[in-house]
Amino acid sequence: MAIIRDMIPAFELFQPTTVEDALALMAEHGEGGWVLAGGLDSYDWFKDRIKRPEAVIDLGGIDELKGIIDGQDGLEIGAMTTLTEIVRHERVRSEYILLADAAEHVATPQIRNQGTLGGNISQDTRCWYYRSGWACYRAGGNTCYAAAPQAMNREHAITGTSRCVAVNPSDTAPALVALDAKMTVRGRRSSNVYDAEDFFIGPATDITRMTVLEPGDLLTQIDIPSEWANAHFYYEKVRDRGSWDFQLVSVAAAFKTSGNTIDDARIAVNGVAPFPVRLDAVERLVKGAAVDEALAIEAGEIAIQGSRPLKHNEYKQPMMSNLVRRAVRSVA
């Protein structure tokens, strides 16, 4: 069968206006259904004719999924809230600038106007091989093409791999892990709340998915607990270009401090594993410590312990180490 790209095949489009209807449609179509948020990942798959859902369930008309609410304890962000709204939201900016910062690093203004927070954290990996429609593990096949000695794995993972070596591409994901966000996932008959850390899963758990979301599941809401409001935040993303590019490595960190002593910390890194990686060991190291350059350096070193590069991505070790170092250093 010859290959055609850049042309979206026909599908049936559903535009429910309530979560209930969306869930019913998703249940009805099962594996053949596709949840559409901003479409920036979705349409990419469709136009390459690699994913061919029979039914597309567009969440764009569901108002209850949009917007940011001042909750009892922090913010409640609807999954369909656009990245631009997050970037511009007053309370996000004043109390949780980490998230606004991360969202602002996504691609371009046009993409942020269209892309949603729910979509951004649910998006699929950008591994060259997988995105080219090759029958790799993640696509249900029996090979990781990126893990060959001559393979193009400059962008791939240095840790957390299991057969598949792709990385999570989301800029907001590590920020949400650092903020200890909670994701509400609704199914037809269930509703679960996951810690951000558990929402993202690695290939060891399921090689075909990046998150806990299974067909039929809807991510409805992302809560940002007030626990980390107004903490000292640090976000940095390294990419090849200044815009319109995914991260090579990014770091998101939240520190509670007194003076230059760190009382508590949550640090996550993305672009180095198939999921945003929380750096428990670094957190343990810095908790209760006064920040100086030696601590920052040690944090950077601990961060990459146990990581192992592929042929073409050894640079990710120092890059990750240095970003963690900078995050810790920023407290001083």
């Binding site: 069968m1 080219s132 990126a146 060959a148 060891a204």
Partner: protein
């Protein structure tokens, strides 16, 4: 055929073998259940007793000890480690496919490594210290007797066996073949993932070289399509895997059958008692006089190896 095998396009759009389909796993599970049920029905239909037979012998008989060593401690440790690793392998292989997700790959290859180590140990141990032929012998008469018994209700009980009855030996040989297939392919598959021992490689340098392995005329030097070698490995591993489901299920089923309990006890405690010995085994074929186990091999080969140190009842 196509139903049981999966094909996929390689990156050049050629259809290549990919592995066995999920349906084969369900088939194996079905077969395992069928086998157990079938055996139960057969057993009942033949009116065999649900209880273990014992011989009516009192006191000591011609130097036969009260307890007869069946499996030494090292053998038992081997068996249970191997069994455990096999179970872990099967669980980590198939449970995720049934829908319960967990990080199985690392456990799977580590269990595989354990299995390989136990097998290496077993091979050396059985060749050097055990009676190799007690397990590896094959006797046509015995086989015929066995099948007669299986098929015809009129046939007499098959002759009593030596240490390992015919079906055990056949099972052993079967599991050797299947496990070896699974192990060899498993190792090849492990080469493709990240372990502390090597860098992953998606391609088998010597096998899957059809691209650069073209001859001068541009014809493939070998007929495997690019990317297909992997498929063969997966198919063999898959078939071996599902075969193991059936075999392990059968093994466990027989192990826990009440009429065969003495085997289980033998593998747990290491010994069987004299009554069990005399009821189920032929002392000519499995001689335990003075605790020294001797067996004359059918092929006449040397068979003076000592299975265990004499352990006479005190």
């Amino acid at each position: 055929m196509g139903r049981w095998l999966d094909f996929e396009s390689n990156p050049w759009g050629q259809e290549v073998l990919q592995g066995v389909s999920l349906e084969l796993m369900y088939l194996a599970i079905g077969l395992a259940v069928l086998f157990v049920v079938g055996h139960l029905v057969w057993y009942r239909s033949r009116g065999f007793s649900e209880h273990e037979k014992t011989a009516d012998i009192q006191g000591s008989v011609a130097g036969i000890p009260e307890r007869i060593v069946r499996h030494t401690l090292p053998s038992r440790i081997f068996h249970w480690t191997m069994g455990a690793s096999m179970l872990v392998l099967l669980i980590t292989a198939f449970v995720p496919l049934l829908g319960l997700e967990f990080a199985w790959v690392t456990i799977h290859w580590i269990a595989g490594a354990v299995l390989i180590l136990t097998i290496i140990y077993h091979v050396i141990h059985s060749i050097l210290w055990q009676d190799f032929w007690s397990m590896m012998s094959f006797n046509v008469r015995e086989a015929i007797g066995h099948f007669r018994h299986l098929l015809s209700s009129k046939s007499t009980e098959p002759e009593k066996p030596g240490k390992y009855p015919f079906d055990h030996r056949m099972y052993h040989q079967g599991i050797v073949v299947v496990s070896l297939a699974a192990i060899v392919t498993g190792v090849l598959m492990t080469l493709r993932i990240k372990t502390p021992f090597w860098e992953p490689n998606a391609y088998y340098p010597l096998v899957d070289q059809a691209i650069s392995g073209l001859n001068e005329l541009g014809e493939p030097a070998i007929t495997v399509l690019p990317g297909e070698a992997t498929g063969f490995v997966f198919v063999i591993h898959g078939i071996a895997g599902v075969a193991l489901i059936v075999m392990v299920a059968a093994h466990i089923y027989f192990a826990i059958r009440p009429d065969k309990r003495y085997y289980l006890w033998g593998m747990i405690r290491g010994w069987i008692d004299r009554k069990q010995y005399l009821a189920h085994f032929d002392p000519d074929k499995w001689s335990v006089v003075d605790g020294t186990i001797q067996e004359s091999p059918p092929g006449g080969a040397i068979a003076d190896s000592t299975v265990s140190a004499p352990r006479v009842d005190d």
